[in-house]
């Protein structure tokens, strides 16, 4: 899921009298933690703390080891925390190994699957997709409501919206929701299922996590705002295609496919522009991406 968002991740901690102000980088971890605690304490969504705990510990340990060795300094832990907790919430399996393996693969992907200094996949999106695809007999995803009342859903939607608004990514969530609703009309028309059934998935917590934590991940989205919206729209479109082919975990696979493609296209365009600049001005723009070493 999302890493600590954009500028917030790079910015310094508040100093002096500002320490009471909540730094943006803490918002996503706080949101997902509050979602987990509320959901579990209210509805018992987890099969046990040990699974989620294992995912968090594995993600954290992997990040610390890989980050320290790679960069020579301790990495910021919130990203690993979000990845771990996301894996712990999303995965459903009677076994422990999927939680550990998924968390490790998610974190490791950031250090391995890189191109021109940027990692290409949202870590937990890739990890979860791989585990779902390669171990369908033993792993599934969180796929049910948390309780039967409207209130928790409204709270999560409001809280999530406020936070992604504050970190400047609300337009991505909104674009996805609008696209999903549009395409649900198409699915209902094509398949003949009731429209409310076609819309039903977005009322579930899996989608809430997907919308607020995955499609908003700044590290793996393209730069211009309009292009980001276009990518999210394409994600929803690919999800439509997958859903028409009865792929249950369509949104995860869609993001897993579209996200890196969009990044690669952007990099290709950047390189092309840079070449033109070199030809035109005799110097190249430095790569702003974060190198592996």
């Amino acid at each position: 899921m999302t890493e600590v968002t954009g500028a917030a991740a790079a910015g310094p901690l508040p100093k002096g009298g500002q320490w009471l102000r909540l730094d943006n980088r803490f918002l996503p971890p706080l949101l997902i933690t509050s979602i987990l605690l509320t959901a579990h304490l209210s509805f018992g969504i987890l099969e046990g703390w040990e699974r989620t705990g294992l995912a968090i510990v594995t993600a954290f340990a992997s990040e610390m080891v890989l980050g320290r060795i790679t960069y020579g300094k301790w990495p910021y832990a919130a990203s690993a925390y979000i990845t771990g907790i996301s894996v712990g919430i999303l995965l459903r399996s009677p076994f422990l190994w999927p939680y550990a393996l998924c968390a490790f693969i998610s974190i490791a992907s950031k250090y391995v699957l890189r191109f021109r200094g940027r990692h290409l996949w949202n870590p937990s999106n890739l990890g979860v997709s791989l585990v779902l695809f390669l171990a369908p007999e033993t792993v599934s995803l969180l796929s049910v409501q948390w309780g039967n009342v409207v209130a928790p859903m409204v709270v999560i939607w409001l809280l999530g919206s406020v936070i992604v608004w504050r970190v400047g990514r609300f337009y991505l969530s909104a674009t996805y929701v609008a696209s999903f609703l549009l395409f649900s009309l198409v699915r209902a028309a094509v398949t003949g299922i009731p429209w409310v059934a076609a819309v039903a998935p977005i009322t579930g917590p899996m989608y809430q996590l997907f919308i607020f934590f995955m499609v908003t991940d700044p590290k793996v989205t393209v730069r211009p705002m309009w292009a980001q919206c276009l990518v999210v729209f394409i994600v929803a479109f690919v999800e439509l295609i997958l859903r028409l082919n009865e792929v249950v975990y369509a949104p995860f696979y869609a993001l897993c496919v579209v996200g890196p493609c969009a990044l690669l296209v952007e990099m290709w365009l950047d390189a092309r522009r840079a070449k033109l600049v070199v030809v035109g001005a005799g110097f190249s723009r430095p790569d702003k991406g974060q190198g592996i070493a």
Partner: protein, 596 residues
Amino acid sequence: MVPANRPHLLRLVWTLLFVAGVAAIPVLNRRTLATAPTVGSAPGRFGFHLQEVAREAGVDFVHQPPVFDPQLSHIMPQVASTGASVAVADFDRDGWQDFYFTNSADNSLNRLYRNGGDGRFTDVAVQLGVAAVNRTGTGVSMGAVWGDYDNDGYEDLLVYKYGGPLLFHNDGGKAFTDVSARAGLPTWVNANSATWLDFDRDGRLDLFIAGYWADGLNLWRLESTRIMPESFEYAANGGRKYLLRNQGDGTFDDVTQAMGITSRRWTLAVAAADLRGTGYPDLFFANDYGVSELYANQGGTRFVDVAENTGVGRTPKSGMNASFGDIFNDGRLAIYKANISEPGVLVQGNDLWVPKEGGSANGEYDNLAPSLGVDLGGWSWGAQFGDLNNDGTLDLYLVNGYVSAGERSSYWYDFSVIAVGHSSIIGDARNWPDMRGRSFSGYQRKRVWVNDGVGRFTEVAQSVGASDTHDGRAVALVDLGNRGVLDVIVANQGGPALVYRNTVTPGRHWIDVELEGTASNRSAIGARVETRFSGRTQRQDVLAASGFSAQNQRRIHVGLGGATTVDTVTIVWPSGRRQVIERPAIDQLHRVKEPA
């Protein structure tokens, strides 16, 4: 100085680790499934072999599912997915176990098969008056359970329905009389489970009936389509429960509220046993669309739900089975609850709740199903513990499969869409996508897990002959031939009943115990039997309902493996009396009457 090629080396190392991690996923997935059915193993390798003999034994029953209001026609196979059940008893006390099948179509007939003792069975349901119980307008059968409620020595029959439950008094094994009205049973319960238990230990069997669909709902004449569960995992809009206290005069008193049982969950299976060593039977509910419930009996005066505290009711799943078994021969009763596992969509895994070793103040349980290898059973329904190969440990037989229709099409995707919907969506049947003849976890292979007694169950169904792929619902274990082995009866939804004749490898011993209460209820339901042999003690309890819509023989069957002696058989009667039988003879049935 950092070597110039260090980043490349590091990236290579990380890449190798990443690739190894990804490669490990399918490897671990396969290893997890290592207990999957093994085809082609030699018969007898696991100590027993099953042969399906229903037709040649004269059992030609084919279950007919119900057909409800046309407003549900688009999802009829789902809402009409239960009703096939089997309940075993020696109703005529001739020493041979008989069995009763329920049918579920309007005006269909239930069957009571009398055991001729020669491997043949004869349907006597019409003759004895327990066949025509599904008349239009009265509801249809969902299951049945035997129990001698008036202590006259003959097992009476409760038929629970989506409709009015029926109580048949057994008139000396020669006829049955419908005493439902006189008994004061509720007029209509949409029930999928019921059991007999003597919750207050007054020597009379009380009755528990668990509603599934909401109260007052007539599935044939719907006033609204808002009848579905309000959530896939948190539904509490199911039917109420009935705890009916036997007043000893042929009538029952509804004490449900007074005894603290308030559940409105969608209960699919219920079983009663003394799980906490108090001497009083507790009640375990396997609930669909939600968490399980474990009602702890407070000395016969009240029940308290301790499911969350004990761990068995923390995670909501789709519970469909409740059976108890002492899988480690250490006197602890484990609870097996069946759930749903569908590759690629939903992997709930079945639960095997084992009391924590050494006990604890709360009587907590651990789910050992994954580590013991009994968690993945498809869309699981009924399951029973029993020593199928007479090796001295309890094995596990599981039937499964939800809706077998179009072989190349599946409803799972559409179900996954609606199942995540908010209560306002999932709760209305109109919103559920049309099944259009598609299968829904259909044609599944059954699971027979052989217990090695030290922590591993091996799946052997295909090897031992349990090769059917019907939509199994109820399974019962019973010694049909008085041969000292457990045979298997399976009731399939919309399919033929199966009778698997069991052949156990020679040289394995056994001992059977059949109890008759005096101070206790005469069926001895609730009695605990501890058989000590070869340095271990196996506990089995006399149960009424067990599994899903099923009842095993009341007779206790204990396999002894190679042991040629039994040290003791200790009986703890429901009355609290304790009886010890020293060195009973093996390879025979012991009929034991509760001492005065």
